[in-house]
Symmetry: C2
Subunit: 187 residues, 2 copies
DNA sequence: ACGTAAATAGACAGAGTTGTCTATTTAATG
DNA sequence: CATTAAATAGACAACTCTGTCTATTTACGT
């Protein structure tokens, strides 16, 4: 084996993640990936059969990392209602770090959701995971039942999704902050 | 002049609209556009300087058509609260017609929002237009003030956006229907 | 009916795409 | 230390991409 630093597969995915998110999957060539990852083309095709396999691996890893990070943030908050609001704060910070590129799953869905069923399936899992996570927090939140558990879950789920998309349109977190304040009023 | 049927520029935009939305801008080649529009390549480049100019014209026309259609639908509803709910019904129908491809502006933003400032500006205008339209209906709705006018506007705006994005992920209108029912409870 | 403006088909340049393959070098393991 | 598995550089095939250009044909307005 070579490559004493970072493992090759990781370097590929790190670079692909950065480029796919910033430029889009279709606008990112294999040649740019290998150059910026500083690896050989033959190495890339030894780890991944096709470019689409890299996209799938990227979406899968993004799903894992997204959940790990979100859970870590929320677990640091004790108040059960504040946990719900922490979801919004977390995504405000994430979008700032990401340069307001929007949701990586929605982006991947728009670019390859129709062409690769594996990618679509992973994206659907990620969104169901998000909803499930919100639901568990809603149930334990002790909110004031202006809406039912089911309804509040749904509202937070769609509002968060829309607010992130709009943050990407306006390149600022205003819509996420506004959504947070309204949810705050409803719990 | 030639082309006794539809004008050439219209055929280009009709075809581009269909292909850009279904496959994505980057995944659609000029050659596919001219073939399916049944026009010559030289004709296309006499009407548009670059491919990106076609994207811009597509986004602009989509903005116009979107608003015209939405306004027509809502104006047929008389009850001021029902007008707000008609927005959701309208988008449920539109997504069914569109094959659950999500919002064309968000898609265009994801693919070219960073590279072409003209496209980004038009998308921002479309979203501001949407919010303004919702706000006017909210103000006249006589809703029960669980939320302020400002807050209800914001909530409908982000929930609609998120619900459409999720309809595209799950390829069904469930999230838009769910969002509608919750807004119904809040007005 | 004629001149003109516009549309046509299609070749072409130049660059970029994914993916394959060869030949070489490197590093870890028995 | 030798073997072996993995990474390397880079050429290459086969396409596809955008955009240009030429030569030809069509149809409308005067």
């Amino acid at each position: 084996m070579k490559q004493r630093g970072q493992a090759v597969a990781d370097k590929i995915l790190d670079t692909a993640e950065r480029l796919f998110y910033a430029q889009g999957y279709s606008n990112t060539g294999i040649n740019q990936v290998i150059e910026e990852a500083d690896i050989a083309k033959a190495s890339l095709y030894k780890h991944f059969e096709t470019k689409e396999d890299i996209l799938l691996a990227y979406v899968q890893r993004t799903h894992e990392l997204w959940f790990t990070r979100l859970q870590a943030t929320v677990s640091k908050v004790e108040d059960p209602k504040e946990k719900l609001l922490a979801i919004f704060d977390h995504h405000i910070e994430r979008q700032k770090v990401r340069g307001f590129g929007g949701c990586p799953f929605i982006k991947a869905n728009d670019e390859a959701g129709t062409s690769d069923p594996r990618v679509l399936a992973e994206i659907q899992q990620a969104k169901l995971h998000s909803k499930k996570f919100i639901r568990a927090l809603v149930v334990k939140s002790g909110h004031k039942k202006v809406l039912s558990d089911q309804e509040l879950t749904e509202m937070i789920f769609v509002a968060l999704e829309g607010a992130i998309a709009l943050a990407s349109v306006f390149k600022q977190p205003g819509e996420i902050q506004a959504a947070k304040k309204i949810i705050q009023k409803l719990i």
